[in-house]
């Protein structure tokens, strides 16, 4: 059963060069994400991944199209949506001079939830840092804390926006294990990434976006079968990076 259904999502922004014109950062994206899946959205910078995610999260207005999460309409009931989803944003800064426990207590209060901050910290292996401030954490610890703060309301769907960007291999593996663990407990996870290895390793299904559109969607294996260059397909040993480059080209993006 699909827990997220989005059809023809459009997000318009002002054109930075010509103020009066708009362009579609997200241009008719339709998604159907199954309960219990890890769904990856891949794409170069500026492809519209974050905008798509933020429309689903109710953080940005949906300019055209519609989205349902657990049969609740995002546009009509953004606050109901926010109660059932967990979100980890790209930027993860918090109030100064507050400990992790205090920050989690704040989020728990904002959701009127009854979770225990220490339990949440244990889930992301940060119990030792309970009394540390968020700005004292390393990159990997910060990401884990972000995920902990996204779990306070026991969400049905967890959105992760580039959860491992900028992390060292150990921290990256650590986050992957955490994601698999949460998914193992039944949570649907939607993530964006640039990291092909990550997409291949974690995701059940992948949508590749470019210029605001989904240009391919399938399981990692099928994508490799379909799009990786011939000689690699023959030995059945292609990877997602080959798929990505084959689909989006070699040109550099900002």
């Amino acid at each position: 059963m699909a827990i997220i259904k989005a059809s023809n999502l459009v997000k318009k922004y002002k054109n930075p060069e010509e103020k009066l014109k708009t362009f579609n950062a997200v241009d008719g994206v339709s998604l159907s994400i199954k309960t219990g899946d890890i769904f990856g959205i891949l794409g170069p910078n500026g492809a519209g991944k974050t905008s798509t995610l933020e429309m689903l999260e109710g953080l940005k207005d949906i300019d055209e199209g519609s989205a349902l999460i657990n049969s609740i309409d995002v546009t009509n009931n953004p606050y109901e949506i926010k109660k059932i989803i967990g979100v980890q944003l790209q930027a993860n800064e918090y109030f100064d001079n507050m400990t992790l426990t205090e920050l989690l207590k704040l989020f728990i209060a904002l959701y009127s939830s009854s979770n225990d901050p220490l339990e949440l910290l244990k889930r992301v292996k940060l119990q030792d840092k309970a009394n540390a401030n968020a700005n004292e954490l390393s990159g990997g610890q910060k990401q884990r804390f972000s995920i902990a703060s996204a779990l306070v309301n026991n969400p049905l769907v967890l959105f992760l926006d580039e959860p491992t960007t900028g992390l060292d291999p150990q921290a990256k593996r650590n986050i992957w294990d955490l994601i698999l663990e949460l998914n193992g407990a039944g949570m649907t996870i939607v993530l964006t990434t640039h990291n092909m290895e990550e997409a291949e390793f974690l995701c059940h299904r992948i949508a590749i976006m470019d210029y605001g559109k989904i240009i391919a969607e399938d399981s990692p294996k099928n994508l490799i079968m379909k799009h990786a260059p011939n000689k690699i397909r023959e030995i059945k040993y292609g990877n997602m990076e080959d798929v990505f480059i084959a689909l989006t080209g070699h040109g550099l993006r900002d």
Partner: protein, 362 residues
């Protein structure tokens, strides 16, 4: 009306503020120092240092010197001319009076020389009448004339008012403006820049809950800070509060609300941390000069006065002064209350129109 998440957020805002010890210290230091300097000086001027050379050594010169010495405005320093000239150049003296050796001679006009630095010319114009007056009274005593006129100055307000009493309400108004603007505009822009606002709006909290939490928290903080300044002035500097303190605090609370909404407007106008500083400066600095906090509005050029009177800070400072110094009730300053209300409406309108919450999140 207040729900638990909102209250919790309010508590967190107060907590964050209380933990910023440095900021608390400096926000209290400035007003305490200003009030302290004015208060310890007792509102009176230091005596003017005058050098005096007496070449005549006559009875008349001695009498003149004695009269001048009795005047609390002057501190007489009698010595030889070379020594005093050196002191004048060094800036230890404001002026030197040279009494010539023919001062005892009543048959002709005695020319008393006044030596001074040109830079002090304005100041000397102010002192000259007092010296003239002293000379005239010495002259009268010698010629045994009774003065025809005498001028007696009476305080119309019939209570002892010092500059400090004038200054305190203004300083408090100024302080509440700064604290409120910093607490709303600056905070919001900073939270937005760092993505903290976006993180908050991932949760089911509504913008109105967020705004009311900030408003309540700031209200508590500003009232606390003003109470400290107020107690300091009251217990250590002996200021006179004629009016009702509860009325004063009622005005303060409305004023905090006014400056918070104006601060939110500034925060909405400004897209970046730099521009919020610029816009806030444009809002704050002219008001320091033009709103009668440190000097009465009447001393400003006439064409600026009507404009000055409608500035938010002028309205607040005037209302607070009327209550604390003149003992009026908040009903008596209804014009100011209307003014504050109009500014609250303007601030609320501008900030809700301009503050795009969806954009904040994005």
């Amino acid at each position: 009306m207040l729900r638990k998440p909102q209250l919790y957020l309010t508590k967190v805002f107060i907590q964050i503020f209380l933990r910023n010890k440095q900021y608390i210290f400096f926000s209290l230091l400035l007003p305490v120092v200003i009030l302290g300097i004015v208060g310890l000086n007792d509102g009176e001027r230091d005596p003017v240092d005058i050098g005096l050379v007496d070449y005549s050594n006559s009875n008349i010169s001695k009498e003149f010197i004695e009269k001048l010495s009795n005047n609390a405005l002057f501190n007489i320093n009698q010595s030889d001319e070379v020594n005093l000239r050196n002191k004048l150049i060094k800036g230890e003296l404001t002026l030197i009076l040279v009494l010539p050796n023919d001062m005892g001679n009543t048959n002709k006009t005695t020319n008393i020389k006044l030596l001074a630095d040109k830079s002090q010319i304005n100041f000397i114009e102010a002192i000259k009448p007092i010296i003239n007056q002293t000379l005239i009274s010495v002259e009268r005593e010698i010629s045994e004339k009774i003065p025809m006129f005498s001028l007696e100055i009476k305080d119309i307000k019939s209570r002892t008012q010092t500059y400090l009493d004038f200054l305190l309400p203004g300083i408090m108004a100024f302080m509440l403006m700064n604290l409120s603007i910093a607490g709303s505009g600056f905070n919001v822009v900073e939270f937005r820049r760092r993505g903290i606002l976006k993180r908050l709006f991932v949760t089911p909290i509504k913008p109105i809950d967020f705004v009311s939490a900030i408003v309540i928290a700031r209200m508590v903080i500003v009232l606390g800070q003003l109470s400290i300044i107020f107690s300091f002035a009251f217990f250590f500097l002996d200021v006179n509060i004629v009016g009702s303190i509860s009325h004063l605090f009622f005005v303060i609370m409305l004023s905090v609300l006014m400056f918070l909404t104006l601060g939110f407007s500034i925060g909405s106008l400004a897209k970046t941390q730099e521009s919020v500083g610029v816009i806030a400066s444009i809002f704050i600095y002219p008001q320091i000069v033009m709103s009668g906090v440190f000097f009465p509005i009447e001393t400003l050029p006439e064409f600026i006065q009507p404009f000055s009177e409608i500035l938010p800070l002028s309205i607040v400072a005037d209302a607070m002064r009327s209550i604390s110094s003149d003992g009026l009730s908040f009903l008596a300053v209804y014009k100011n209350m209307i003014g504050i209300s109009i500014w609250i409406v303007i601030g609320t309108f501008v900030s809700t129109k301009l503050f795009v919450w969806k954009e904040v999140a994005g």
